[in-house]
Structure formats: C-alpha cells, structure tokens
C-alpha cells in the first residue's frame, strides 16, 4: 500500500461544504524522523563494520579506500533496512537518492576544500594596501603582508577584459551563425571550434609568442597575453552560446519572421534577448576558463613586479602568473605571498560572477521578477503557464 502513495495527489481541505471531518493531509514524500534515524543508523553501522574489516582484519590502509568502501556498504545496508520497513520500491528510490546525494557531496567537498584551504593560507596575509601597492620594492625576505598586488590585479583585469572584448562578439556571432544561419559551412565551423577548444594553453601562448612577440617584434605585452587568452576563450563562449541559442523556442523565430522581420533582426531582437541570461553565463564561463591561465602568460606577458597599466607596451603582471612565479622561488615568505595572490584571484572570479549575474538579471520592465519568468522562458512548454497574478 505504502509503495503506491507516490503517484497520488495530495488531499487538502477541499470538501468544506460537507460536514465531514477535515481529512488528514498525507505527504508521501516527507522525510520523517524515523527516516532520519534509519539513515543515521545505517551510516553508523556500516561505518563500524567497514572500520573493523579495514583496520583490524584486512591489510588495507588509507582514508580514501575506507570512504569508498564505507559508502558502498552504507548504501547496501540502508537499502536493506528501508526495504524491511517500507518495501522494495521505496528502498530503490531511497538508495538512488542516497547514492546521488553522496556523489554530489564527493564533488562539493573537494571544491570547498580548495576554496577553504586557499583562504586559510592566503587570507591571513591580506592587508588593505594589497590593492594599492605593488611588489616593486618587496624582496623575498619581506613578510608576505608587505607589498601588494595592484600590478597583477590591473594586469589580469586588462588582459581578461581585452580577451573578452574580442572573443565575446566573435563567439556569440559564431554561435548565431551555427544556430541561426547554418548552411554548408556549419559543419566545418563546428569541427573547427571543437578542435580549437582542445588547444593546450601553452600552445596558444607559444603561438602568440612566435608570431607576435618574436616575429612581429612586439615584445612582451599584456595585449599579447590577451590574444593568447582569446584563443582559449573563443571556443568556450561559442559552444556555450550555441547551446543556449538552441534552447530558444523555434516558435519565437517563426513569430518574428511572420511579422515581416528579416532574419538578422530576428536573431538580434528576438533570439539573443531571449537567451540573454544564458549568453551572460557563456561569457562568465569563458572568462572563468582563462582568468586562471598561467602557462600562456609566461611567454607573452612575462610578468612584472611594478605597475604597468598599458597593456600594449612592455611586460605586464597577472594574478595567476605572479602566484606561480612566487611559488617556484620556494622561500616561505614568497610561497605565502603566492597563496595570497591565489586567494585574491578566487575572490576576483567570485566578484566577476556575481556582478555579471546581477547585471544580466535586469528584468523586462523593471522590478525583481525577471528571474522567475526569465529562465523558464527558454523552455517551450513555459509559454502557456500563467506566472504572476494581476497587480
């Protein structure tokens, strides 16, 4: 009986006219205290058994193996326990949910660990003057709190900014070509973009180094670095934008064309605005792809401990590049400073993400409701769903 509850509608107070007592509201999906107890008991029991096997009986060692084995045993025990209490169907469902939850955890934990460790190692050396001073007069003997990173912040922002200015229009236009125009060139272009996304970053850097820094005799510059980053950013922006454009319902294109719009206006005034939030995501992903790139910058911007705000002339610094250059010196102060640079880089990425989302979420006709209708609007099924009541 309990197994078939899932499919039933929830009964609420619907028959108030009749003198019947209020029906009890059943919530088949609710996670009760007993469910929690079963979950915890399975976790503890499986943990104990695996610990016994692992530490006392079998000649194994190491935390990773223990965790994997524990998780497997836990799933089995949890499944058996739930089956005993609720039946096979619910047991399968719970085990699947627990497995997915566990895997998600296994992904989130390392991510948080990376962020947390960087913050722990780097944030302690952060002082306000990091954002106003450079490393020009700071030596390896100076404590990590001395000096600053202005030259690297300026460099990173300029290089990534220039790379975005080139690759976003190009990438979005290419996506529009792939998705809205098409024709015989569609396939070769798509293959080319895919191949481009496989270019190792050092190859992109060396390419720019040979062609521009050496042959064209530009010398090292932030702009050369930006061009190397553009090579890496372009395929990401293109492919992500293309996927997003493909989600725009064909009915909107038809509606636009049926109003007498030429195809370019349809793409520009209907398709792109509809996909705007997705395009912004594509831009963010592209920037995230390149903001931490170090290898191509080694051979293009070279690095510079003093401030050079002109990206077109002379070596320039960048946060990941400086972090790397400090690390390889191996001196305690410099390594700590490298962690500080890495931390500031992560914070910068975070700020860019939030800023892009906030700017992108500007709503049709003001007020903060856009997010509710915006994202589902890419879904063809959403068009007929009334969203907000009349005001």
């Amino acid at each position: 009986m309990a197994t078939s509850l899932r499919a039933r509608p929830r009964f609420r107070r619907a028959h108030r006219r009749d003198a019947k007592p209020d029906p009890t509201a059943r919530r088949p999906r609710r996670f009760t205290r007993r469910d929690g107890a079963v979950l915890a008991a399975s976790a503890i029991a499986s943990g104990s058994i695996v610990w016994l096997l692992y530490e006392r009986i079998l000649p194994f060692a190491g935390i990773q193996g223990f965790l994997v084995l524990w998780f497997g045993t836990f799933l089995a025990m949890y499944g058996l326990a739930v089956r005993e209490l609720e039946g096979t169907l619910i047991a399968k469902d719970r085990v699947a949910a627990a497995a997915i939850g566990g895997v998600s955890l296994a992904i989130i934990v390392p991510l948080l660990a990376i962020l947390g460790y960087t913050a722990w190692r780097g944030a302690v050396y952060l002082r306000a003057h990091f954002f106003t001073e450079t490393l020009e007069f700071t030596g390896p003997e100076d404590p990590a709190t001395s000096g600053g990173g202005l030259q690297a912040i300026v460099g990173t922002l300029e290089q990534v900014g220039i790379a975005a200015m080139i690759s976003v229009p190009l990438g979005v236009l290419t996506a529009v070509f792939l998705n809205e125009v098409g024709g015989r060139l569609r396939r070769p272009v798509r293959v080319f973009v895919d191949a481009m996304s496989g270019v190792p970053s050092i190859v992109a850097g060396l390419f720019i180094y040979i062609i521009l820094v050496v042959r064209a005799d530009w010398g090292f510059s932030g702009f050369a670095g930006a061009l190397a980053l553009t090579i890496l950013m372009l395929p990401t922006v293109t492919r992500t934008s293309e996927v997003v454009l493909r989600l725009v319902p064909g009915g909107l294109r038809e509606a636009s064309l049926a109003l007498g719009a030429p195809e370019w206006r349809t793409a520009w005034n209907v398709v792109l605005p509809t996909a705007r939030l997705g395009i912004i995501t594509a831009v963010i992903l592209g920037m995230a792809r390149v903001i931490g790139e170090t290898a191509p910058l080694i051979v293009t911007t070279l690095g510079n401990t003093s401030l050079n705000a002109n990206p077109f002339d002379g070596p320039q610094d960048a946060l990941p590049l400086r972090s790397y250059l400090l690390f390889i010196q191996g001196v305690d102060n410099q390594v700590n400073r490298a962690w500080l640079y890495a931390f500031v880089l992560i914070m910068l990425v975070l700020i860019l993400f939030v800023a892009a989302r906030v700017l992108g979420a500007r709503r049709v006709g003001g007020r903060g409701e856009r997010r509710r209708t915006r994202e589902p609007s890419l879904d063809p099924a959403d068009g007929v769903v009334p969203v907000s009541p009349a005001s």
């Binding site: 007498g260 068009g383 007929v384 969203v387």
Partner: protein, 274 residues
C-alpha cells in the same frame, strides 16, 4: 475611400487602418522534399470575410496557410507551385520580398508565442520594430491594437510587465494585437484556439468577428463548431492514402455544414468516418 485617407496612407510615418484585401490562390501545389503534400488548390479568400479551412490532420491545410504568407519556404526542402495573389499582385513574383509579404499577411500560431524578453507594450510594438518601420504615436498603436484584440482593459495598467506573465488566452490575444500592429491586410490563424480553454476561445472568436471588417481572416481549425460560428466561407481539405491533400469542397459555411455536395464533406463535418 476619402482623399484624406489616401493622403495619409502615402505618408509612411502614419499608421492607418489597412485596406482589407482579397487573397487568391490558384493551382497551388506543395512538396516537402519529394513528398507531394498538396495538390492543385484554387481558393478565393474574399476581403471582409472569414474563411475557415477544415479537414483531417495531415491534409495540407496548415501547409497551404503557410504558403499564403511565404512561411512555407522557411522549411528546408519545401517547394511549391502555383500563384498567390493579394489584390492581384503575385506574392511570389519578382518584385515582392518575403518580409514585405509577411508584414502584409500576418500570422497567429497554434501555440501563443509572445516574446518572453519583452514587455506587453514591447510585444505589441515588436512587429513595427522588427520590420524596420518608423514608429510614431506608439501609445495610440498599443491602445488601438490591444482594444481590437479585446485585451486592453485587462492589461492597460500593466503594459510594462512581461508578456509571458499573461494567461494562455491573454497571450494569444496579445499575439493577435502584435500581428495587427503592423497593419496587415490579411491575418492567417493556424488553430489559434486549440491550446486554449472555452472561455478564452470565445474571447478570441469575438475578437475575430470584430477585426474581420478591416482585415481578411483565414483560419485553420479542427473545431467544427468554431468554423460554423466564425466563418462565412469554408474549404474542406481531405487527403487519401497515397495521394496529396486537396480541396474537396468550397462553399458558404451554412451550405458546407447543412447541405454539402460531397458525401465526404458531410461525413467529416458530422463526425462520421470510415
């Protein structure tokens, strides 16, 4: 028409009510790839009248409708033969651009499709913007077309809200207003009510009756009562196994429903099959 109005029409900045026009299809065939889907359709769709195209699914009536405003050619592999004339001008002739054709012959689709990135006001004006027309008296256009579409009183206080926030029936009326804003001479409707509830359907039908005096309407519908209620003329399309779809019978709606010449028409409109 008075000379004043003729004067006004010659000024591109002034949006005036369109002149209804007669649409005439002669010997129309259609293919998708090698598949012949529509054969030899000749049909006059007179001005100031509503023509209903009825028939079973797959008989080619939607294809025919899309040929009327050159949407058919957007489908890869689509081909056609025959002539479509709007007040005597061949729509597929050398001097007609597809965009101009579509601006003069608007279309309302089965599923309401307001532009989600635009407000209600922007949706109404989108056709003018998209077809590159100059915009003057935008407020008047919005009020006029929304009133014609029977939506003005419901949305006049929230014109700056997104079009996607309306109910399905309201969205469809918004789409009608959007089509009317570019002052088309003909409005094609491809099962405009099939996704709507009976109340919304009724509102759309009222709207059709109100706008029929200044825009020629051609509607595809699977709903016999709807065809009977709204149209003055009916064309029954049918398709037989292995042959392309074709018109079986054309006539005044009353005749098609009460006393059709062809037994297949009688069977279809009365729901008898096989």
């Amino acid at each position: 028409m008075s000379p004043v109005q003729t004067e006004a029409r010659s000024d591109p900045d002034v949006v005036t009510l369109p002149e209804p026009a007669t649409l005439f299809a002669e010997g129309v065939h259609a293919w998708f790839g090698d598949h012949h889907v529509l054969a030899d359709v000749t049909l006059e769709m007179p001005a100031r009248a509503i023509t209903a195209l009825i028939g079973p699914s797959g008989c080619g009536k939607s294809t025919f409708l899309r040929i009327l405003n050159r949407m058919h050619e957007l489908v890869p592999g689509a081909a056609l033969a025959g002539e479509i004339r709007l007040d005597g001008v061949d729509l597929y002739g050398q001097q007609m651009r597809a965009t101009e054709t579509r601006r003069r012959i608007g279309m309302v689709f089965q599923k309401p499709n307001p532009f989600p990135a635009m407000t209600i006001r922007e949706n109404v004006l989108s056709g003018l913007k998209l077809s590159g027309m100059k915009l003057r008296n935008a407020g008047d256009v919005v009020e006029r077309t929304l009133t014609q579409a029977g939506l003005w009183t419901e949305v006049k206080n929230r014109l700056d809200r997104p079009g996607g926030a309306l109910s399905g029936g309201q969205q469809q009326r918004l789409c009608i207003a959007r089509s009317l804003a570019v002052s088309p001479q003909v409005l094609l409707m491809d099962e405009p009510c099939s996704a709507l509830d009976p109340t919304s359907t009724r509102r759309i039908e009222e709207t059709m009756q109100e706008i029929a005096h200044f825009v020629t309407i051609v509607i595809v519908t699977h709903n016999m009562q709807q065809a009977q209620r709204v149209s003055q003329q009916c064309a029954f399309f049918n398709v037989e196994e292995g042959s392309p779809g074709a018109i079986v019978e054309i006539g005044p709606t009353e005749k098609i429903f009460d006393d059709p010449d062809d037994p297949r028409t009688a069977d279809y409109v009365h729901g008898r099959f096989g």
